[in-house]
Amino acid sequence: MTDTALAIRGLHKSYGDVRAVSDLDLSVPVGECFGLLGPNGAGKTTTIEICEGLLEPDSGEVEVLGMRWQHDEHALRELLGIQLQETQLSEKLTVAETVRLFRSFYKKGRAVDDVITLVQLEEKTRARVGTLSGGQKQRLAVACAIVGDPKLLFLDEPTTGLDPQSRRQLWDLITQFRAEGRTVVLTTHYMDEAERLCDRVAIVDHGKVIALDTPRALIASLGAEHVIGFTLEGEPTPIDETALRALAGVTAARRDNGAFELTSKELRLTIPSLLAFLERNRLRLAELRSHSATLEDVFVSLTGRHLRDA
């Protein structure tokens, strides 16, 4: 077994005129939890489905656990756990029947009851899939993905549309799986999810990797740890952004309609300096916020857009 769980080189995939994935390279070592972070339509699902052997790339090389889809499809299927976006499992079956069905496809795997316990669906063992909540259905989908005892787990937007509690339950599940030394590759458009779960994150936009590092290093690359947002009272005033950049501790300033955003190395220097600047220019604050920098801010600084409205 190689040390590299997933290696992608020069991947291209187009749908008609639309380039979904464009010259993408990635390498994921065994035992890592790797995240593809990007807005909807960035090419995350296309990329992960090519890795899963469900889509053919136009060109490029994909190596999964040291094997190729063209030659080793059957062996690979035994080693991978896959959760797809928007799969509807049969509503007429019970939870136990569904997991047992998926277990039957694999030569080796985990005990059905253990997996159901692991995803905390013990009380729903005999319930029909049609009666489950969204979060329960998603945990069942993960149960079906891990029942074959995979070495590599692919999760495509595992927590999209879930309530906060269900998300945390799924995060615990993924963390636990990862703690057993297995590899996880997931896509998400939630930066908090990527920050919390992933060892490394690739930020994807328009089918390209625009940044790749640990969440901490990506945030540090902003050269600042805090983000200050403010809006002003009255008519939108033309403020010189270079003047804002000159304030103490500020590393970057940008303006989005009437809202301003400053990134700062040191909040205790920047805030007084900002207030003094506004005072001098006879401007009054309508709102002032600050937060620690996140991957969202990294995405904004790289693309000029927010993840949610990109």
Binding site: L54, Q88, L89, S90, K92, L93, S104, Y106, C144
Partner: protein, 345 residues
Amino acid sequence: MRDSLRELTLTRFREFVREPEALFWSLAFPIVLSVGLGIAFRNRPAEIVHLAVVGDSAAARAAQDALGKSSGIKAERMEPPQARLALRTGKVALVVNAKIPDSIEYEYDDTRPDSRMARLLADDAIQRGRGRADPQRVAERYVRDPGSRYIDFVVPGLLGMGLMGNGIWGIGFTIVDARRKRLLKRLMATPMSRAEYLGSFVFSRFFLLVLEVFLLVGFSAIAFGVPVRGSLVQLAVICGLGALAFGALGLLIAARPRTIEGASGLMNLTMMPMWVLSGVFFSSENFPRAIQPVIHALPLTAVNNALRANMLRGAGLDVVGPELAIIAAWFLVCFVVALRIFRWR
């Protein structure tokens, strides 16, 4: 049996029995239909012919005596206007008018079959009453065998229609639904064997087939005395081969569509002509000679003809060889083409 094939077959079976509507339409509906048709087209006892006698002459009285002795006739004495009205409204089929002495006149509408029948019966009774002797001695024997009634014709047709509907709907809808819900794609992401996936449909279909055939044939034998004169094993062979052919046709229809709507259209397009042409409710021999070769090449025609030959005539498989060949050809062609064009993801 491998675990996965067993689990897949159980899944098919669970999905089916947990859908009450599917159970009704595939198992109970053909029986309901056979009850309805059996009652509507049951053979009635020979009908009594009603007629009116007008006049008060000796001939009239003699005629009424003679008519009264005949078992199939009920003659009533009426005044002329009353008799005319009864004839016009269909209460009587014939008016026997004996107003003029020694002469009898039959008043009736010669375009009404029941009136023409009444005229023959009445005339026969009256002439015999006056002493007519028949030159030829005749005897009568009534033949009312099970096997030649409408219900006997229609039950094998319903059986064939059920095989077609359950094969095409049962397999086609399940596959297209799985594709639409991306379940098919999810299954493809596991090591599941495609052959076992399709095999699970064959196994579950055969299991339901036994129920389906047993219920309809058993019910119609008990309730209507519909015969099964051929061998039961051979009947099972015909049903099994038919189910394979229609299952393959369902698979072919479901090979590409991504939506239920698309599949429904194709299914109706396939089944509608066979419902009409293949002799389910009435004999396909009624259609023009020119299109008979086409009708005979349809799988449902072949299945219906083979079922009728077995159940009603007790014919062996050798007799229905051509039909079996047609059914087998449909199975092979549909199955091979379906596998070649099947959209797995």
